[in-house]
């Protein structure tokens, strides 16, 4: 792997940048692999990387039907945080956040991981109870968390309106200083390059069309580029997980829905932290390019279309203006959506399936991006050891039979 640094940049500048190597190879699929990962998003690439790096699995391929990071990895609002309420969720997201904190150096790719701080606003007395409950739970779980009064919020975010004028005045917020943002394309590319560097075949334009099984065990996958034999298959396909599961004769408790985001035109710096509000259903940060990057709650209807509905957009923009009246005249540049797969309890499914050698990592809903490295790490462990790691044990399919749900819907303070 060609090392990236200021020095390498300067050296290549002397040769007009004509000598850069490919960031990762573009190999043709081999006839078979020890492990095939379906889905070349962040989670799949991270899984492949850790399979080799941590578990020394011999041959691993990532099959991507389009281009790397073209799904939800490249469509999200780049928010990273770990301040989840329930112990099970808090532990896996915090584990992930800790990986984020060293990932840029580990994979030698600047992920622009910026712990700019993340505010979750409360607008009602009940919001405040929920926020304080979550702060307390976070602290006891070893996750940084603070309570801010409206005055402290205003000091941190001068553009925000904390006055009682608002329809739902801001009464307080939780702050996770270690939360923030990271560049989503960088994550996809950095992980693709890292996976490639340890020998993983990252294969583009290779759509899985069938999962072959024999005697209840997986034997390989049919793809748009032919059959690929596999000892184990890990599916990490977010919104299309239900489609993949049906190829293996399974049904998963998932609903796929559009989740949309949009950006304003680039503006001079006005907002340095991430601000989220579950009560009015919107969240916002400012990118390094200067765009206000905003998101909404999931659309009301199930669907695979990667397009957001105007109704959801309009309401979420109204919420942004409610919090930031100064952004009223700012103009929206573009709007897009990803397809998120959501479990009834808004927590993921990571683990074994009834089919031997077939593993699923899905159901991250709106929380997938921030969990990428942690998700890949535990999924690699699960595939390599054929049993879940302590961190993802609670996120098995069985929980829907036992009723041990981890309901982050109402309790997380924010849905995303």
């Amino acid at each position: 792997m060609q090392k990236y640094s200021f020095l390498s940049l300067a050296r290549n500048a002397l040769t007009y940048h004509e000598n850069w190597q490919r960031a990762w190879r573009s190999p043709d699929p081999k006839p078979g692999y020890d492990v095939v990962i379906v889905g070349g998003g962040g989670h799949g690439l991270a899984t492949a990387y850790y399979l080799v790096k941590e578990h020394r699995v011999g041959s691993v391929a990532v099959l991507e039907k389009g281009y790397v990071g073209g799904g939800n990895t490249g469509r999200n609002t780049e928010i990273v945080r770990s301040n989840y309420l329930w112990d099970e969720a808090a532990h896996i997201y915090e584990f992930s956040l800790k990986l984020w904190e060293g990932l840029t150096q580990q994979i030698n790719f600047n992920l622009m991981f910026s712990q700019r701080g993340l505010l979750s606003l409360g607008h009602t007395l009940q919001d405040l109870r929920d926020i304080q409950r979550r702060i307390n739970a976070n602290l006891l779980n070893g996750i940084d968390s603070e309570f801010l009064t409206p005055e402290q919020i205003k000091e941190m975010v001068p553009a925000i309106d904390v006055s009682p004028r608002a329809r739902y005045p801001i009464l307080g917020a939780s702050l996770q200083r270690r939360g923030g943002t990271a560049r989503h394309d960088a994550l996809a590319w950095g992980l693709a390059r890292a996976a490639d560097s340890v020998g993983v075949d990252v294969i583009h334009n290779c759509e899985v069309t069938g999962i072959r099984r024999e005697g209840g065990a997986v034997t390989g996958v049919d793809t748009s580029r032919g059959f690929i034999k596999a000892g184990k298959v890990g599916c990490v396909t977010a919104g299309n997980s239900g489609v993949l599961a049906s190829m293996a004769g399974m049904r998963l408790p998932l609903e796929s829905r559009p989740l949309q985001a949009w950006v304003s035109q680039p503006l001079k710096p006005i907002l340095d932290v991430v601000v989220m509000s579950n009560a009015v259903h919107a969240y916002i940060s400012q990118t390094d390019r200067g765009e206000l990057l905003c998101g909404a709650g999931v659309d009301s209807y199930n669907g695979y279309g990667q397009r957001g509905s105007p109704a959801t957009l309009e309401h979420a923009i109204a919420a942004i203006i409610e919090m930031f009246p100064r952004f009223s005249r700012v103009r929206m540049l573009r709007q897009w959506a990803g397809t998120v797969d959501t479990c009834p309890d808004a927590c993921p499914i990571i683990g074994l399936t009834p089919v031997k050698g077939l593993y699923f990592n899905c159901g991250w809903g709106t929380g997938g991006y921030k969990s990428t490295p942690g998700s890949g790490w535990v999924f690699a462990y699960t595939i390599a050891q054929n049993r879940p790691h302590r961190l993802n044990e609670p996120f098995s399919l069985e929980r829907f039979a036992t009723g041990h749900l981890i309901d982050e819907h109402g309790a997380a303070g924010v849905a995303h």
């Binding site: 500048a13 281009y67 150096q105 600047n110 009940q126 103009r331 929206m332 009834p344 749900l405």
Partner: protein, 1000 residues
């Protein structure tokens, strides 16, 4: 004042209405009808902006939506507008604008030093560096952010209003150029309801920017005639300054009308902008085409303009953007610009055409122009304004150059061909296809009820535009049942000329590798050069989506309108394929940026979410009540006396209820009227407890679970008649419960005969609570026997209260004798005031939600959503008795899952501190060992906590693992403020545990 570059005559400006405007502090003259761009050019100002990354000087490139350099900030303060495009800003007298992202000025910008280090800033350089030392990115980022962005956010809240307009139409025509005008007219003539929208000041499109003639009339006059006929058709609506910006499912489109932006601020009382939400049966896209620039060295210098823009400035604005011009083209259309320049009095040094000699070059030579065939402009001289061009001879395939030449000029008009505006077509879900003959992307097969006509379909000559427009209009109208699909009259004929084909020329060679020549910009706005694309490909970022994301091509405020097709073609060349195999990136809404506030429309300020007030609300306001938001409702929180704190007021209110009588405005409780012979069957399924045999005139408290067996809502349902029930829900849960019930009724149990109606707002509820409540009510109600025997607890009676028909419920959330009097909301305040008059002798006291919360907590009653969070079952709450054993109900099966029958679940308990004065923090986490290492095991949390005046001590409710079996044990509550407080687990019913007080 003179405008040195204004032509003596012509243009569609109003010379009778001169005005002045300010740019970067200098005052300039112009006319009504000018844009900021035309006004600046009329005054000889080309340098208007700096580029994003290298801060290179930038000028005006085009005349309309294609402009992507000239971003400006218009106005100051709260009305300021960032990132407007100078070509789209209509001038009004006094308009003030300035360049953005420059320091100290556009003429001398210190950040231009970035240009010296451009070699160190190849695409994606930030992914490769700023990594040392570890964790230092925040510091680097801080500097990078300071340099990023264009305009600045307004300084205050928006003084303007916005609104939405919802319309249905037969045919929506987007774009009022020749094709759009023709389509709208032909469709309109059939009687169809037609809406024609155009982003410009007036209809006409390219017809107003040229010198053509139609049916013997100058194009402008012909446009006027068309517009007059459209105005005469009653079902046709024409909207100027309105951009169709988004195309969604089922022919739903969004369009932004800019109503007042062309007027001085505050001069129009109406909304500033209006978002049109259109559901069209048929859509005709007549969105035209945008001229492509050519990619050569330093092609971003001020004075390099699109040929079509130059022509438009001459014809539409009577502005001559330069006096010595060179025209550089690979197609025929720019020849007209050369003629326009000539006719307007400019000196045309040469037409540089990449193609061999053809018909147009012969024509130009006849007019005395120098045409340099098979030549190319490879570079320009000059930084803040071009001084000349460098020329080289081009090989036949356009792949290499030789020789050298120079021409002096102050204007270079370029044309690299035309790109149809297929954005809306693509937004509709269709995929544009590449047309190798026309060298552009054209619409592919439609997937919604839309068709394209004219230049946006790749038909660039006027005759084709008109023909397609009329035909599209007729066909679209016919598809909606209007007309017969044929044309109402012959298509006007236009003098046409045969031409020579365009020659693809994606990068103008400069005699050296692309990576080693001065920057050849593909997307000048984002400072993306041809070399950047090649670098991206070299590094494996070789699909168009990678190129876009890695280099930022097309990511800027113009969404790649100007540069994307060139970028795609350059990438295709690298792959040795054609642009069609590369494809476009996904075109997303919006076509041009849309104001946030316009999208939210009227949903702002106090209208952000409807405020629901009870019929008695104003009385509370008059009494000085403070309010809390509960859902959309404003509920009286507490009624402080002057100088009283929250705690003091709540103590007083609580004691009044316990000792005499208090009154709560309970109107906000959700009320669902349920009628039908199967109403009891339905209720029996949705509630956990039996509902088959509730006697008429009796009430029953019910629990509602979700599919997972978790408590979702609770409330009292009364049977009012044989088939008639009234369900009460929580205030915040009312809408959700209603849709939950409808979901089950409509999708799972359609055979059940019943109807549900939300009647929450129909009734005002005056809740009299306390030992003296019967005495008070008796003074107001004579036709109902209020005695315990004939009107027992959990009964409902109808009668007159204060002379008004009322339903009286004997239910209680405070544990005291309570009468909930429901009257028609119109009489709510009357009855409320009558109650206060009657209760005066008992010291009747209004109480708010806070006192209500304390009173119910004293009784151990849960509030769904406060004491529960979607993870709590009735068993956890100690309410097993509420689960019907002999019947099925929603959520029942889930309750028997292994995790739900465990004994160590979090269970609802009371908590008592050792110090009776110490009130536990709500949200405090409960632990066994307060000093255990992190992560510290948590047992649960405090859900409700108050000081109880009646009990003269603090009380709290909470959820604790295995709590039901731990009564009397001590646990510790920890809070983020550093407190650790010991508390004893107790029964959650602190007051009147036998329930005697409500049953008197």
């Amino acid at each position: 004042m003179s405008q040195p570059h204004r032509l003596a005559e012509g243009g569609r400006i109003d010379r009778k209405r001169p005005l002045t405007f300010t740019f970067n502090g200098r005052v300039y003259p112009a006319f009504r009808g000018d844009t900021l761009a035309s006004g600046l050019l009329a005054n000889g100002v080309h340098l208007v902006a700096r580029s994003l990354k290298y801060h290179r000087p930038r000028g005006i490139v085009g005349a309309g939506v294609e402009e992507s350099n000239a971003l400006v900030q218009v106005g100051e303060g709260a009305r300021s507008l960032p990132n407007l495009v100078a070509t789209q800003v209509e001038l009004y007298d006094g308009l003030s604008a300035r360049s953005v992202n420059v320091f100290p000025s556009v003429g001398f910008d210190l950040r231009a030093v970035n240009g010296w280090f451009a070699r160190l800033m190849p695409p994606g350089f930030y992914y490769k560096t700023f990594m040392w030392p570890a964790g230092s990115w925040r510091q680097y980022e801080h500097q990078i952010r300071k340099a990023a962005g264009f305009g600045v956010v307004p300084t205050g809240a928006d003084p303007d209003d916005y609104d939405h307009m919802n319309v249905h139409c037969d045919v929506l025509v987007a774009g009022a150029g020749p094709a759009g005008l023709a389509a709208a007219l032909e469709a309109g003539r059939t009687g169809a309801r037609v809406i024609l929208m155009d982003e410009r000041t007036e209809p006409g499109g390219a017809l107003l920017a040229g010198s053509g003639r139609i049916e013997g009339l100058p194009a402008g006059r012909w446009v006027n005639r068309m517009v007059e006929e459209l105005a005469s058709l009653p079902e046709v609506q024409v909207l100027a300054r309105t951009t169709v910006a988004g195309y969604y499912e089922h022919n739903f489109l969004l369009a932004l009308e800019r109503r007042t932006d062309h007027l001085a601020p505050g001069s129009d009382p109406g909304p500033r902008q209006r978002l049109w939400r259109i559901r069209a049966k048929q859509v005709v896209l007549a969105t035209g085409a945008i001229e492509r620039p050519l990619v050569f060295c330093n092609n971003d210098r001020p004075g390099v303009m699109l040929a079509s823009g130059v022509s438009e400035y001459i014809h539409r604005y009577a502005v001559l953007p330069g006096s010595r011009a060179v025209v550089f083209t690979n197609n025929d259309s720019a020849y007209q610009t050369a003629f326009d320049l000539l006719d307007a009095g400019a000196q045309v040094e040469a037409i540089v055409d990449s193609r061999p000699a053809g018909q147009r070059s012969a024509e130009a030579r006849e007019r005395g122009l120098q045409v340099m065939n098979r030549h190319a402009v490879v570079d320009v001289r000059g930084a803040k304004r071009i001084r000349g061009v460098r020329l080289m001879a081009l090989s036949a395939d356009g792949g290499s150059v030789s020789g050298k030449g120079r021409l002096a000029c102050d204007l270079l008009a370029v044309s690299g061909g035309w790109s149809p505006t297929v954005q809306l077509h693509a937004q509709s879900g269709a995929r544009p296809a590449y047309d190798a003959r026309k060298v552009c992307f054209v619409p592919g097969p439609s997937v919604q009820a839309e068709r394209s006509a004219g230049a946006c379909r790749g038909s660039f000559d006027l005759q084709a535009c008109l023909t397609e427009g009329f035909r599209a209009g007729a066909a679209a109208a016919h598809a909606t049942g209007h007309g017969d699909g044929g044309l109402s009259r012959p298509i006007p004929s236009v003098e046409g000329r045969e031409g020579d084909p365009i020659q693809p020329l994606w990068i103008v060679p400069a005699g050296k590798p692309v990576s080693r020549v001065p920057k050849q910009f593909v997307d000048p706005l984002m400072d993306v050069s041809a070399a950047d694309i090649l670098t991206a490909v070299r590094e494996g970022y070789d699909s168009i989506e990678y190129v876009k994301r890695y280099t930022n091509l097309g990511m800027g405020p113009d969404q790649g309108r100007l540069g994307n097709v060139n970028g795609i073609a350059i990438l295709a060349d690298q792959h040795g394929t054609d642009p069609g195999s590369i494809g476009t990136t996904t075109f997303r809404p919006m076509y041009t940026p849309v104001t946030f506030a316009a999208l939210s429309g009227g949903e702002q300020k106090e209208l952000f979410d409807p405020v629901r007030k009870t019929a008695i609300h104003e009385w509370h306001v008059e009494q000085g009540a403070l309010f809390e938001n509960v859902g959309q409702w404003k509920r009286a929180w507490y009624f402080p006396w002057p100088g009283e704190s929250l705690d003091e007021a709540v103590d007083r209110e609580c004691l009044a209820v316990r000792r005499s009588v208090g009154v709560l405005d309970a109107s906000t409780l959700g009320k669902i009227d349920i009628q039908g012979p199967d109403a009891n069957v339905f209720l029996n399924r949705v509630y956990t407890n039996p509902f088959m045999k509730v006697p008429i005139g009796r009430c029953r408290y019910g629990l509602m679970l979700d599919e997972n067996g978790m408590l979702m809502d609770d409330g009292v349902t009364a049977r009012l008649g044989e088939d008639h029930y009234l369900m009460h829900t929580t205030t915040g849960g009312a809408a959700h419960v209603m849709s939950w019930l409808e979901l089950w009724l409509q999708t799972e149990w359609p055979e059940l005969k019943l109807y549900m109606t939300s009647v929450t707002d129909h009734w005002a509820t005056v809740s009299l609570c306390g030992p003296n409540s019967r005495r008070v009510l008796r003074k107001l109600c004579s036709d109902v026997d209020l005695s315990r025997e004939s009107f027992p607890f959990m009964a409902v009676r109808e009668g007159a209260v204060a002379g008004v028909p009322a339903r009286i419920f004997r239910i209680s959330f405070t544990g005291e004798l309570t009468y909930e009097v429901n009257v028609n909301a119109n009489f709510g305040r009357h009855v409320w005031e009558a109650v206060f008059d009657a209760g005066e002798e008992y010291g009747i006291t209004p109480f708010g939600t806070e006192a209500m919360h304390v009173l119910r907590a004293e009784k151990g009653y849960v509030i769904v959503g406060q004491d529960t969070d979607g993870s709590v079952t009735p068993v956890d709450l100690g309410m097993e008795r509420m689960l019907g054993r002999k019947k099925d109900f929603l959520g029942k099966r889930s309750l028997f899952r292994s995790y739900l029958v465990r004994k160590d679940r979090k269970q609802f308990v009371g908590l008592l501190t050792e110090d009776p004065k110490e009130v536990l923090p709500e949200g405090g986490q409960i632990v066994d060992d307060p000093s255990a290492p992190l992560p510290r095991p948590m047992l649960g949390h405090v859900t409700s906590s108050y000081y109880s005046a009646a009990l003269e001590r603090s009380i709290a409710l909470g959820l604790v693992k295995g709590g039901h079996g731990r009564t009397g044990e001590t646990v510790h509550i920890q809070n983020f403020d550093g407190r650790t407080i010991a508390a004893r687990i107790a029964d959650p019913v602190f007051y009147d545990p036998k329930g005697e007080r409500q049953n008197v």
